[in-house]
């Protein structure tokens, strides 16, 4: 089982849209896929038309088989572990337990033989929940809006994942919400491509189709297969899958 976290320190950079679309495409490839919505806002759950609610709250996840809370989506091979508004208190819950930074990993161990891939839609910030997610993940996919401030954020994240406890964790960055008409976006992308190794070749454009996901409540490929956004996510997933194969 590979655990892929969609994460950025900044909010509003397209984590949720990317998590939903990439998980969907992964599942379409015949992989048993679980999307875990750990963002208290529950947007990933909403986009899949699943209520952001865990019976008994997130506390109930501990000590029980998390499969009890898993919901089957409308798409082949794709399941969701929904968000809950109380997920905002997860930090406190984790903090009260022993091995407080390994709680997400331990919860995922119980489904390791059921899923090929787990995608985690992470909340923004640098919290205990995020530390948990990074400890559980094999790969962090981090969306980046091509702006000066985002570059600073990327530097912080790069520094953070150098922690010895996160050895082996891969950080792959892709540009998100790109507006190719804007000169700044084009310049930042060009500049970063020469300065940084490991940037994903595919990027996600700013697209009204992706925005419509929240209205139609489905992955973009379902309702706009040939749209710019749909094709961009398809390309990004192909690149991620290929890189994962190459890196074993």
């Amino acid at each position: 089982m590979k655990v892929i976290a969609l994460y950025s320190i900044k909010g509003g950079v397209g984590k949720t849209a990317s998590a939903v679309n990439l998980a969907y495409m992964c599942a379409q490839g015949g992989n048993h896929t679980l999307l875990w919505d750990l963002d208290p806002q529950g947007a990933a759950s909403f986009n899949l038309r699943i209520k952001a609610k865990l019976a008994g709250g997130p506390k109930a996840l501990f000590g029980r088989d998390i499969m009890r809370y898993v919901k089957q989506s409308d798409y082949d091979n794709l399941d969701l572990l929904p968000a809950d508004f109380s997920n905002r208190k997860l930090d406190l819950l984790f903090d009260a337990r022993t091995r407080r930074k390994q709680q997400v990993r331990r919860l995922l161990e119980s489904v390791a033989d059921r899923y090929d891939y787990v995608f985690i839609d992470s909340p923004p910030g640098l919290t205990l929940v995020v530390e948990n997610i990074l400890r559980a993940a094999d790969l962090v996919l981090s969306p980046l809006i091509p702006s000066t401030l985002s570059l600073r954020t990327l530097d912080q994240l790069t520094e953070f994942v150098r922690h010895p406890k996160l050895r082996g964790l891969r950080l792959w960055v892709f540009f998100s919400m790109v507006d190719v008409r804007r000169q700044l976006h084009r310049e930042v992308m060009k500049q970063l491509a020469t300065q940084r190794q490991g940037l994903m070749r595919h990027f996600i454009p700013y697209s009204s189709d992706i925005e419509r996901m929240g209205v139609i409540r489905a992955p973009v490929e379902v309702f706009a297969r040939r749209s710019q956004g749909g094709l961009a996510y398809r390309g990004l997933w192909s690149e991620v899958a290929r890189r994962l194969t190459d890196h074993g």
Partner: protein, 546 residues
């Protein structure tokens, strides 16, 4: 309604397997697949009305298909809790694999008709089913044409919470007035058990019917006038202990001849190798019953049958030996050095050629007058054995007769086994193996008369000994056969002879190991506790220990 992605039951867009059910089978109030059968042809629009006010219904595609239920000849999958069904339309199909025990259901798209389990695409279910099916082939046990409509039941978020499949069935040659029926199958989604329960309750209250496990399979079998017959090789006798030995013997032998006849078609069509195996086991059991349960029939009355069943065993033996070689060919191949693998191909070709010839010979026998009159005369004899054929024990109640003969063979096993030492000839082990086999058959013939639990313990202990003796015998037979084949055939490649030599060496080593293990195995059978189990086996009277 927006363009939802495919669901696995739809032929139009299915590409991936899809699982229904929670996948854990724990703590569920209701199975994740629920089936209802309604008489006649119920339109899909009527079915939609059952859910009005609770769920919105989104109609999926409609299509005509052929529904087939696949299982082994002897319904192994069903008995192990599985139902394997296939709906095909043209070259496209969906295989539904349903676990009756956990309630989980997986739908797997396939191209063309399902013939082999590997077409299930390496899923866990394939491995599970393979373990159950063993060497048996899958056959279409029942099939019906069906008109299918798919309905998705949606909640307030327009999320699918239950898949509903409406199937309208009718037997092709509908002689029976009630052959038309509608099956409603609800497939639950993980995390939506409550919705499944509500949908099932809606159907139950609207139609005044109750859900039934595997309802479609059972109704299909009814409509086709077929039964879920378990062609068990072991005879299950349902007679009271007060029955006479004659009644019991007749029931055993009738059951065995039924098994033989029921396997004929499978041998002729060459569906799998196990039809011949089961046929031969039934022949062997019949011979054993005739030879061991003495005094029920007069010896002169059954002499002809005994020799004819011996003939039947003899003529079917070579094909079985070839089947065993071919079934284990991959293991044999793996046991010799890689350099000799090519050489083994010649041996494989030889075995296949011989198998074709042997099959022809057996088919000739099975279609011949000698076999048919044996079966016919034997059935007549069993149905009404004239007074002149009845032996002295015929009128006795079965229990003392069963006890006498079972214990007699047990004592023989002990005597033969205790005489075997390191210098005993292989024939001594062979004779003991035959006696063990006879003892096993006796235990099986009279199981209903035995103390519950004892028979099982004894069978397990005996089986461990039989495995050792069987291994030794297999190796001896293999060595002799390989030696003869190596000498009697002109091989194109010298490597083939070398490979046969390597196989002989392997068989010799295995035989030696089995022989060395014999005493340990026999000693763990020849114990005071085994004796006690035999003593109490029929629990009628105490008997003297051997």
């Amino acid at each position: 309604m927006l363009g939802h992605d495919s669901i696995a039951l739809e032929f139009t867009c299915t590409t991936q397997p899809q699982r229904f059910g929670s996948g854990d089978g724990k703590g569920k109030l209701l199975n994740d697949t629920v089936e209802f059968i309604l008489p006649g042809n119920v339109p899909t629009s009527e079915v939609e009305k059952f859910f009005t006010g609770q769920f919105a219904a989104a109609r999926g595609p409609e299509y005509s298909a052929t529904l087939r239920f696949h299982d082994t000849f002897d319904w192994r999958l069903y008995r192990a809790g599985w139902v394997l069904e296939e709906a095909t339309r043209g070259r496209r199909g969906v295989v539904g694999c349903y676990n009756r025990r956990t309630g989980d259901h997986v739908s797997i798209p396939v191209t063309g008709r399902l013939r082999h389990l590997h077409e299930l695409g390496g899923l866990q279910e394939e491995r599970d089913l393979r373990g159950v099916v063993g060497l048996r082939a899958l056959i279409a046990q029942a099939q019906l044409p069906v008109r299918v409509s798919e309905i998705k039941l949606l909640n307030d978020d327009q999320k699918t919470v239950v898949h509903c499949r409406v199937g309208q069935y009718q037997a092709p040659d509908a002689a029976e007035a009630n052959s038309e029926f509608t099956a409603i199958r609800l497939l639950g989604l993980r995390g939506y058990t409550a919705e499944l329960r509500i949908a099932a309750a809606r159907i139950a209250s609207a139609t005044n019917t109750t859900q039934r496990e595997c309802a479609v399979l059972h109704r299909t079998m009814e409509v086709l006038g077929q039964t879920l017959d378990e062609h068990a090789v072991k005879p299950h006798i349902r007679l009271p202990p007060s029955a006479t030995a004659l009644q019991w013997m007749s029931a055993i032998c009738t059951r065995l001849v039924d098994v033989m006849v029921s396997n004929e078609a499978g041998i002729v069509q060459d569906i799998d190798t196990e039809f011949l195996h089961d046929f031969r086991v039934a022949v062997r059991r019949t011979r054993s019953a005739l030879g061991q349960i003495r005094g029920v029939y007069k010896t002169e009355s059954i002499t002809r049958f005994s020799s004819e069943f011996a003939w039947l065993g003899q003529v079917t033996g070579p094909l079985r030996d070839l089947d065993v070689f071919l079934l284990h060919f991959d293991e044999l191949r793996a046991s010799v050095p890689v350099e000799l693998h090519d050489g083994l191909q010649g041996f494989n070709d030889y075995l296949r050629g011989q198998r074709i010839r042997e099959r022809r010979r057996i088919l000739k026998h099975l279609r011949g007058e000698r076999y048919h009159s044996l079966v016919e005369d034997w059935r007549c004899f069993l149905a009404e054995p004239g007074t002149r054929h009845r032996g002295g024990a015929a009128g006795q109640t079965v229990v003392p007769v069963a006890r006498e003969h079972t214990l007699r063979i047990w004592r023989r096993v002990l005597k033969q086994g205790r005489c075997i030492n390191d210098s005993s000839p292989p024939q001594a082990l062979h004779d003991l193996r035959i006696s063990c086999k006879k003892l096993r058959y006796m235990l099986e013939f009279f199981t209903p008369l035995q103390t519950a639990g004892n028979a099982g313990h004894l069978t397990r202990r005996l089986r461990r000994l039989q495995e050792n003796l069987g291994d030794f015998q297999d190796c001896s037979v293999q060595i002799e056969t390989l030696y003869n084949i190596a000498h009697q055939t002109a091989w194109d490649q010298p490597d083939t002879v070398l490979a046969l030599g390597a196989l002989i060496q392997q068989a010799t080593d295995r035989g030696t190991a089995a022989r060395q293990d014999f005493h340990r195995r026999f000693q763990s059978f020849d114990t005071r506790s085994t004796a006690r189990l035999f003593e109490r086996l029929f629990a009628q009277t105490q008997i003297k220990v051997a």
